[in-house]
Structure formats: structure tokens, C-alpha cells
């Protein structure tokens, strides 16, 4: 590769020396050089888009102002900056398995991820407010507090606990994410793994589903 580049440079020097008489040849070489430049790597790209500009391009999938209309797409507004940066890095580095987010997260630099996370941290989270049977919601509330409440404070509504806003999140998204945790497709702490196992042993899938119904019923 280096040798080839050198050869072309040497050729161009030779031609430039004789360029007055050898114009057609010079054009030909210019073309070769352009092609060589094109092959030498991708073109330089303009960076430095603002947080708002970067965030705009998320909104086609995640909803206006990052508030999803559901049911499988999560709302990304109102997350803490730390949490969103962490999640995006995990998608980007394939630590979290995904259908599409990994491919998209790979398009952004650390700084760009920070900029969009800072932007969305400042946008209010609007809860999904899904319906549900009152008794199931009450059970879910109780179980959420018992099994998840140590880390996901205030019924999962606290953005500052850096573990994502769960209260008011969309049910299909919550189901998928919990499946990913269970399958090892998403990084999970030992503590959370233990708590989920405990929940499933004591309350079964119905207990987990009740928690999801409770969470997605929040506004």
C-alpha cells in the first residue's frame, strides 16, 4: 500500500515536471490520483452537531422530544445523562444485544453521545399511562417496592438513581428488556440477577408481569 502510494507520488512528480507538454497525460494521472485518494480511506466528515441536532434524529423512532408513543420503543426523555451515556455505550460496544440500536449507536462518538444524553436529560419524561387491572397494579406496586425498590426508587420514577426511568415506560419494552437480562443479552448486576430469581421463585411470571403492568400504568 505504502509502496503503491510512493510510486504514484513519484509518477506525479515526474508528470508535474513535464506538465506543460504532457497535459492529457497529466489529466489521466490526476484521475488516477483522485481514485487513489478515494481508495485511501473514507472522506473527512463534518462533526460537531449540537445536542439538539443529534437528538432530532432519534425522534423518528423514539417520539417527539424523546417521548415514545409505544409500545416497544422506550421513551428516552428525562433519563439522567449518566444512564443514557452508559446505555448507548453498551449498545455501541455490543455489550447489550439489540435488533437495531447497536448499529445506530456505532455512528456516534463519545462526545456526541454525551451531547445527546445531556439534551434529553433536560426534557420532561411523559409516562405511557397504560391501563391495567387495579388489583394487578396494586400487587405490582407492592412487588416493585419489595424486589426492585432498593435501586429503582420511588416506584422506578427517580431519574437520579442512574438506573433509568421505569415508571411510565412502555410495557412491551419492559418485557423485552427483562427477557434480555434473563438471557444474558444485557449486562446485569449480581444483585439484580439475584432479585429477579427471587421474584420469579416466590411470585412466578405473574409477579413479574404485575410489576410491568404497574410500571407502565404510571404517567
Amino acid at each position: 500500500m505504502q509502496l503503491k502510494t510512493f510510486a504514484i507520488s513519484a509518477l506525479s512528480v515526474a508528470i508535474i515536471v513535464g506538465c506543460v507538454v504532457l497535459q492529457p497525460a497529466e489529466e489521466k494521472v490526476a484521475l488516477v490520483l483522485t481514485k487513489a485518494a478515494a481508495k485511501s480511506g473514507p472522506p473527512k466528515l463534518i462533526s460537531g452537531a449540537s445536542g439538539a441536532m443529534l437528538a432530532n434524529s432519534c425522534e423518528g423512532c423514539h417520539g417527539s422530544d424523546g417521548n415514545s408513543q409505544g409500545p416497544a420503543m422506550p421513551t428516552i426523555a428525562g433519563m439522567s445523562k449518566n444512564y443514557m451515556v452508559e446505555v448507548m455505550e453498551e449498545f455501541r460496544d455490543d455489550e447489550t444485544k439489540s435488533t437495531i440500536m447497536g448499529r445506530i449507536a456505532k455512528g456516534y462518538t463519545d462526545d456526541e453521545i454525551k451531547a445527546m444524553a445531556a439534551y434529553y436529560a433536560g426534557i420532561p419524561f411523559n409516562g405511557a399511562g397504560q391501563g391495567g387491572d387495579a388489583a394487578t397494579i396494586a400487587t405490582g406496586k407492592k412487588l416493585q417496592k419489595k424486589y426492585c425498590g432498593t435501586c429503582h426508587h420511588d416506584g422506578g420514577a427517580d431519574a437520579d438513581d442512574d438506573s433509568g426511568i421505569l415508571a411510565g415506560q412502555w410495557p412491551t419494552y419492559l418485557h423485552y428488556t427483562l427477557q434480555d437480562f434473563a438471557n444474558g443479552d444485557r449486562a446485569i448486576s449480581q444483585k439484580m440477577k439475584k432479585k429477579i430469581a427471587q421474584l420469579l421463585a416466590e411470585e412466578g411470571q405473574a409477579g413479574l408481569d404485575a410489576i410491568i403492568t404497574y410500571l407502565s400504568s404510571q404517567r
Binding site: 466528515l45 423518528g60 417520539g63 416497544a72 435488533t99 445506530i104
Partner: protein
């Protein structure tokens, strides 16, 4: 002026008074237009590009007076229309109105634009709407093969490539077709709206037939040898529709095999390929070759390609100043003609216009495309393509950020779960992209 391309000589011919206005708009760093008076933007076309641009200009600077002119009070999204054709959704699912835009302070005018002057848009209703900057998002128009026409498409041989009545007509034709019938689909040659669309349509029609009329066949007559998401569609057709076997629901005749369609005859429901071979169909759907929507030609915004060349940083036309072209009609070099791309271009264009009207330089752009295609409803199997783009420093093209994007991985058993999920994501994608566009 509006009937031909704007050139330098025309520019010099315009009257003195107009010249002042035009000259002001030429420079990037003029004093803020909105500081002097309320700046006016007129958006022509209320589809994915136009409606999104109107919303994001208003969001970017609420002082800007934004008027959107659209011919129809209801817009039907072209994406997801294959769900309607396959009977998985009703036509109403695709329908969106403009109440959400009006609620945000955008003036919505239902009228047909017949011309774009240097500083005003003229409508069939006899009105004139003055602008400082104009956004044109007219979508596509068709180049019909011999024997085909819009009239015919409305009554028998559909294209259904703009959603609405033809979507329903094609659905009705499939429902009334006998078991054992042949459905002919004729995809266009490159470049066209929604590159994977004809093949999603093929898949979902095959899915409908498999379940309801299993003796029937889909015959695809294609001028191309390859298409978007090619490997994934081929694999999906094998998995779900027996593609490649003697009993395949789908037959695909490619360009090399003479698949390009030369003419159609509605009276005997026959399609003739360039290889002079006749194919009889019980239902025929031909998606013609395409070009920019009619107003782009009338306004002199197109070049020899039939599409509109633009500055990729602001989507301002490189032919006429102060007029921006987005969506399928524009040459967004490097991006596909998709609904999501139109939305992304609209946001970049809106940010550029807000900056320019406030006497600022447009900021760095970023673009995204995401696109889902369903291969099968039972079982649920969906694929996607995505990319994040940036503008090349020399602004000659929009470039996929290295390492980003690409296709859904192939379908091993482990991926089946994720591909079933992708079908759910496609529905969520629809909810979000449409509410992001129409605020509904």
C-alpha cells in the same frame, strides 16, 4: 421564470425592487430577518418531508411565520401500506391530518401549488403566499410504460406507490381473486422511493396467499438483478414461501433474465417484458420508474436526472436560491429515498433555515435512516436497515459514518426472537415517525 430553470441571466433580468429582496437572501450573514419583520417560510407539500420541516422550523424559532400548502386534507403514509394490501391493517391506519400542525401555530392551506416565483408561491385557488424561504417537498411522479397511466392505475392496473385509493383497490383485487390466480408485481429500476418496498409487498402478498389462496402465485418481473436487503429477502422467501423450490409461492424474474416490463395491456391483463414475452396476471401491480413531483419541474428545480440537486448542508436548491428541496424529490446524495430519510433531511433543512433567517451560519448536520421491512406475519419476521450519516467536508455527499448501520443479521434460530421483535419495533416505529411528523 417559474417554468424553467433559474439562471444568472434571469437573475439579472428581475426588476430592481425584487433584486433587493433576492440579493438580501443571498448572503448568509445578513441581519436577522425575524428581527426586522416576521420571517416567512412557505412549505410546499405536506408529506413526511414537508410536515416535518414545518414543525421543526416552528420549533426552532416560533417567531417564524410558517405556512404549509398541501393538496389533500388527509395524507396516507406510503410506508406500512403493504400491511393494508395484505389485509393486516385498514386503510385508515395510514391516514393523517393536519390538526396537530395547526395546533402548533402553523398555517395549513389545502390548495394545489401551480408555480413558485422568487418570493411567492402561487396556488390554483388564485392565492399568492410570500416567503423569505421556501421548502419544496413534492414527493414523486411516475414515468409509465406503454399502456400504463395514472387513469389506468386508478381503475385496474395499480401502482399503489402513493398510498390511498389505489392501496385499497389492490387490496380489493387480491380479495376477489380466485385461488390459483397469478399476481404480477413489476418493481421499478433504480432510483425510486422506498427501495425495499416492492419486495416487502411481494413478501406480504405471498403471506396473504399462503394463508388464504395457497394455489396462487406471485410473479415478480424486475428490471434489476439485485435489490435492497437482497440476501435477507431471498433467505426469508426461502424460509416462508418455498422460494427456489418447485412449489415456490414467489417467482422472481430478474433483469438479466429479461424481467423488465415494456408494456401492459389492461384489456387482456397481460404484461410484455423486454424479451417480448407475455405474462398473464389476475392482479397486476406495476410500480413505474420515478422522478421528482410535478411542481419541482414546473418550478425549474430539477436537472437532467429528473431529481433536484441541492446543497446537502441546508437542502437549498443549487439551481434557485432561497428554495430548499427535501424528501424523495431531492438528490440527497448518499441517502436512500425513504420516509425516515425525508424526515431526517427535513430536520437538517429546518435547522439550516432557522439559522439563516436569524443571520447565523447553519450548524453541523447529522442524518439518520431507519427502515423496517416485514417478510412474514405468521410467524412474525422483520428485517431492518439503518445508518447514521455525516456530511463530507467538501459537502459533495452524505456519508455513512464508518462502522455504523447496516442490515439485520441473518436468520439463525437465535436471531428469530430478535426478528420477531423487529416486527413489533416496526409498529412502534410507525407510531413514532408519524406522530413526530403530524403531531397526532
Amino acid at each position: 421564470m417559474n417554468k424553467k430553470q433559474f439562471n444568472r441571466r434571469d437573475f439579472l433580468k428581475v426588476s430592481g425592487a425584487t433584486l433587493v429582496t433576492v440579493a438580501t437572501g443571498f448572503s448568509i450573514y445578513t441581519p436577522s430577518a425575524s428581527a426586522k419583520a416576521k420571517a416567512r417560510v412557505v412549505v410546499v407539500g405536506g408529506g413526511m418531508g414537508g410536515a416535518t420541516a414545518a414543525r421543526y422550523i416552528k420549533k426552532g424559532d416560533p417567531k417564524i411565520d410558517v405556512t404549509l400548502i398541501e393538496a389533500n386534507p388527509i395524507y396516507h403514509t406510503c410506508f406500512m401500506s403493504n400491511f393494508v394490501i395484505a389485509g393486516e391493517r385498514k386503510l385508515d391506519y395510514l391516514a393523517h391530518g393536519y390538526a396537530g400542525l395547526i395546533a402548533e401555530g402553523i398555517n395549513v392551506v389545502i390548495d394545489t401549488v401551480i408555480g413558485i416565483d422568487d418570493n411567492a408561491v402561487k396556488t390554483r385557488g388564485g392565492k399568492s403566499y410570500a416567503f423569505d424561504r421556501c421548502v419544496v417537498s413534492p414527493g414523486i411522479d411516475f414515468k409509465f410504460v406503454e399502456g400504463h397511466s395514472e387513469e389506468l392505475a386508478n381503475t385496474s392496473i395499480t401502482h399503489a406507490w402513493k398510498a390511498g385509493k389505489q392501496t385499497q383497490l389492490l387490496r380489493n383485487q387480491l380479495m376477489s381473486m380466485k385461488d390459483g390466480g397469478v399476481v404480477i408485481i413489476g418493481p421499478p429500476g433504480d432510483v425510486f422511493r422506498c427501495p425495499p418496498g416492492p419486495y416487502e409487498r411481494t413478501s406480504l402478498i405471498a403471506g396473504y396467499l399462503k394463508k388464504n389462496k395457497p394455489k396462487s402465485k406471485v410473479l415478480v418481473l424486475d428490471p434489476k438483478d439485485k435489490f435492497s436487503k437482497f440476501g435477507l429477502f431471498m433467505e426469508g422467501w426461502k424460509t416462508h414461501y418455498g422460494y427456489g423450490s418447485d412449489n415456490s409461492l414467489i417467482t422472481w424474474v430478474n433483469g438479466e433474465e429479461g424481467g423488465a416490463i415494456e408494456k401492459v395491456s389492461a384489456s387482456d391483463m397481460t404484461v410484455t417484458s423486454v424479451a417480448e414475452k407475455d405474462f398473464k396476471g389476475d392482479v397486476i401491480n406495476i410500480i413505474p420508474e420515478q422522478k421528482a413531483g410535478a411542481i419541482a419541474f414546473t418550478a425549474g428545480l430539477t436537472d437532467d436526472s429528473g431529481w433536484c440537486p441541492v446543497d446537502l448542508h441546508t437542502f437549498e436548491s443549487t439551481i434557485r436560491k432561497n428554495i430548499h428541496v427535501i424528501g424523495d424529490a431531492s438528490q440527497a446524495k448518499g441517502m436512500p429515498k425513504s420516509g425516515y430519510a425525508a424526515s431526517s433531511e427535513a430536520k437538517v433543512c429546518a435547522a439550516g433555515i432557522v439559522a439563516l433567517l436569524n443571520g447565523e451560519a447553519p450548524g453541523s448536520p447529522t442524518y439518520v435512516n431507519t427502515c423496517y421491512s416485514l417478510i412474514s406475519f405468521e410467524p412474525k419476521d422483520a428485517i431492518s436497515v439503518a445508518a447514521v450519516y455525516k456530511l463530507a467536508e467538501d459537502k459533495s455527499k452524505i456519508v455513512k459514518v464508518p462502522g455504523s448501520g447496516g442490515l439485520t443479521p441473518g436468520g439463525d434460530a437465535r436471531n428469530a426472537t430478535y426478528r420477531a421483535r423487529a416486527a413489533e419495533y416496526a409498529l412502534g416505529w410507525y407510531e413514532n415517525i408519524t406522530s413526530n411528523t403530524f403531531n397526532d
